[in-house]
């Protein structure tokens, strides 16, 4: 049961990734692209967690944790750049 669920979930997340990339390339605005990147980070977390479940290991949990903790700071920096130009002031 879990195997089928895993496969379906992975397929769905993969689809989400493709859609992210589409938005990222299409744009049209820089904000769209930043948003797409941020969503891609979220999807990467999901993919890594699913991988852990599939391989029955806990080795990659930290990678997911790190994306969660740090990924959004990249987004913040990009957003601040778009809004204010100067990121650190």
């Amino acid at each position: 049961m879990i195997e089928i669920a895993l496969k379906v979930t992975i397929a769905l997340i993969a689809l989400a990734v493709v859609l992210n990339v589409y938005r990222l390339i299409r744009g049209p605005d820089a904000t769209d692209r930043v948003l797409a990147l941020d969503t891609l980070y979220i999807n990467a977390i999901a993919l890594i967690l699913l991988l852990d479940i599939q391989l029955d290991t806990r080795l990659y949990l930290e990678s997911a944790l790190l994306i969660a903790v740090m990924g959004f700071i990249g987004t913040v920096a990009l957003a601040k750049y778009l809004k204010r130009g100067s990121v650190i002031e």
């Binding site: 692209r33 930290e62 913040v76």
Partner: protein, 936 residues
Amino acid sequence: MSLALVVMLPFMGAVIAPQFAQAGRTAIAIASSVPSLVALMTLFPYWERLAGGNAVIQHVEWLPQIGLSLSFRLDGLALLFALLILVIGILIILYARYYLKKHENVGKFYSLLLLFQGAMLGIVLSNNLLLMLVFWELTSVVSFLLISFWNHKQDARRGARMALAITGGGGLALMAGVLLIGQIVGSYELEVVLAAGDQIRAHALYPITLALILVGAFTKSAQFPFHFWLPHAMQAPTPVSAYLHSATMVKAGIFLMARLYPALAGTEQWFYMVSFTGMITLLIGAYVAMFKHDLKGLLAHSTVSHLGLITLLFGMGTKLAAVAAVFHVVNHATFKASLFMAAGIIDHETGTRDMRRINGLWRYMPHTATLAMVAAASMAGVPLLNGFISKEMFFAEALELNLPGIWAYLPPLVATLAGIFAVAYSARFIHDVFFNGQPKNLPVFPPHEPPRYMKIPVEILVFACLAVGMFPAFSVGPLLFIAASATLGGEVPDYTLAVAHGFNLPLLMSFAAFSGGLVMYSQRQRFFDFHERFKEIDEKAVFESVVTWVGNLSERVTNKLENGSLQRYALLLFLTAFTVTLWPLTELGFSIGSNELSPVDYPSALGALVLIGAAIGTVVMHRQRLTSLILLSVVGLLVAVAFATFSAPDLALTQLSVEVVTIILLVLSLFYLPAQTPVETTAFTRWRDVGIALAAGIGMTLVTLALLTRPFSSISEFFLENSKPGGGGTNVVNVILVDFRGFDTLGEITVLAIAALGIYSMMKYTKLQAPATDRLGNPWSKDPHPTMLMQISRPLLPLALMVSVFIFLRGHNLPGGGFIAGLITAVALISQYIASGVDWSEQRVKTPYQIVVALGVAIATLTGVGSYAFGYPFLTSWFTYASLPVIGKFELATAMIFDLGVYLTVVGATLLALTSLGKLSDPSTKVSASHNEGGV
């Protein structure tokens, strides 16, 4: 180790003596002569043993792996040279006391002089050829500093540079020669090398070895065609010329020939190379000396000529000639040093060295004149003076030389001709300077005798000339005998040191030289006119133009390779890699190995497709800087996920943290850059680069494929096995970083620290104008620190720090470690800078990041040094297990302290770089609205 002490004494003096500079010139002169006096006393007790024909060797291992040892040797030859260096050294120190003016930097002068003395003693007392080489190079460097002592004069600087280039270059040749000897003999110890003469001479590499060593000796001893540096080195203060360019440094090359005489001499190659070089030098030096109007110029060329004479004697290859050579070393040092000192006195008292202006000084300084005339007479080879005796021996040897056929006349002819020149220039020195009418508009008039003590060194040396000249057997007989026996390596031929050997052919040659020389001097105007017809080559100009040419050439080559364009570097790098790899790859036949390929799963394939797409997108969109940056982040993220998928969690963690820092860094710089990159390339270069990129990429894929599909064993097995027992941790990557390869890591964090400090110091005073609007021309938002962002980022800080501590602590056993933890902390702190601003953050983080960086490197280094305290080599790690209630059993390792150093360096360096970039914008151009501190 009393011999090592003798060598070390002047070096210690070089440190201590300058402390007396404030107390006046007399005090520092006395302090500077102490090392020489103590050294002389140390050497004195050895006389008995040396007189018995034994050598004293004192040996301490230093780097036995490369054959370098602290091994010193005192035999007759070394003693003779050491006495010259020490005794003349004391006299020079006394002389310089009166020569230097009060306002000059006497501390520097005496310090350098003592350094030089130590280096010279090192050369003559070394028993290890490599050790000798070290001292040899030291004399080149110190002589450079001494010649350019008056470094405000351009001529002095140029002369010094020339001397350094020539002698330093010769030093390189000598090094090659010494290494070859070491290869042939298997040892650098002199006693082994000297005993292996036959083996060296029979070896196939003998000619090249000999040539290299002779180039070293010839450059140092100013032999043709390297002789030109010596006259230009006369820009040095006169005590330096008297010491370096008459008695010591230029004799180092002679010493080398004498020292290696048993090992290298006695072959045809030796004979032709050494004797002909000597002969040419002898003639050229003596000839040019006649036409020099500069007092020191005359002496310098005369020195070149006498050095040629000694070289010629060594080249002749007979034992008697070698004895005469050693003898002439002593004689030349005494009369030439005293002549230089006399020239210095004259320069000092008249303000010029031009012999066309200095005339008739006899009336003004009879005492100095007498001394100088005796010394000059010795230089000319007048009987009853030491120069005469060795010159007679030289004439006799020149007659003995049996060259085939008509060539047999060459050596006696050259010898007599050089003798004529020598008499002529000596006569000029005496007659022009002390007689020949009245002085002509001297800068200082009237000249008078120098201070009493300034003449004492000259008197002592002139006395030595007389003593040796009249009672040779009594005064230098024993010393010469042991020196000759050490040079020849045993047997000394029968020779008698006597004032006269009766009426024979050499005496006749002397007569010829005298009458010829005097005639030549009386007819000098004709010779001057004859000489004037030839355009004189200015060696300095030639040398400078050669140096400039070489400099320009290397600059052009460098500019071709390193033109500041990253594209160019990448192009060269990839082309080289492609070319180098192509050949072995074609040999492999582009085949895939025997290992089975792993099955493709759809998520991975999709990831790969997205990765490729994002990479291509980055390239295609590269003119839209922001878009390509976002696409680049996608690449980074997917690479991190790929690392995770293919079982490299450490890499995944590192890649993710680096990724975030990269985005912040690039966004920070994007602010100051135009949003669009202008087109700077042609379509052709772009497609060429596409081709190269494709070739390199496909090549890399093929290499990886070929490698991974073949069974191969790697070093990983070793690390996997030893990680736990050897380093105490199960995370192999981390154990390698902080333990097995800790030294590497230490180097890397040091580089990181240097780079961060470099960024900091470059950016500190740089202010850039911030763009007034965003890339679409819209005004910037007026809110620098949005409340929402602030409120969310603050609680995140402790959370992120906790993750960082967690990653740090588990690093030794599970994925993580100081580097990743450092990046997490840095990113967490940077988020506060972004959200709440620099002022807010710096109020709370009081320690400057420069200190954090320094602290990190210091902790890591001290961890390494700490292992010395327990008697282990640098960076040996230690670990144990401890257990605490609640937490349970855990590991304690010194590697963790080291990792803490890594952590601090990474935190400090990242923050220093990012905040430096953040502070770039000129505050006056910034859009500053109400400083919103938001409901804190």
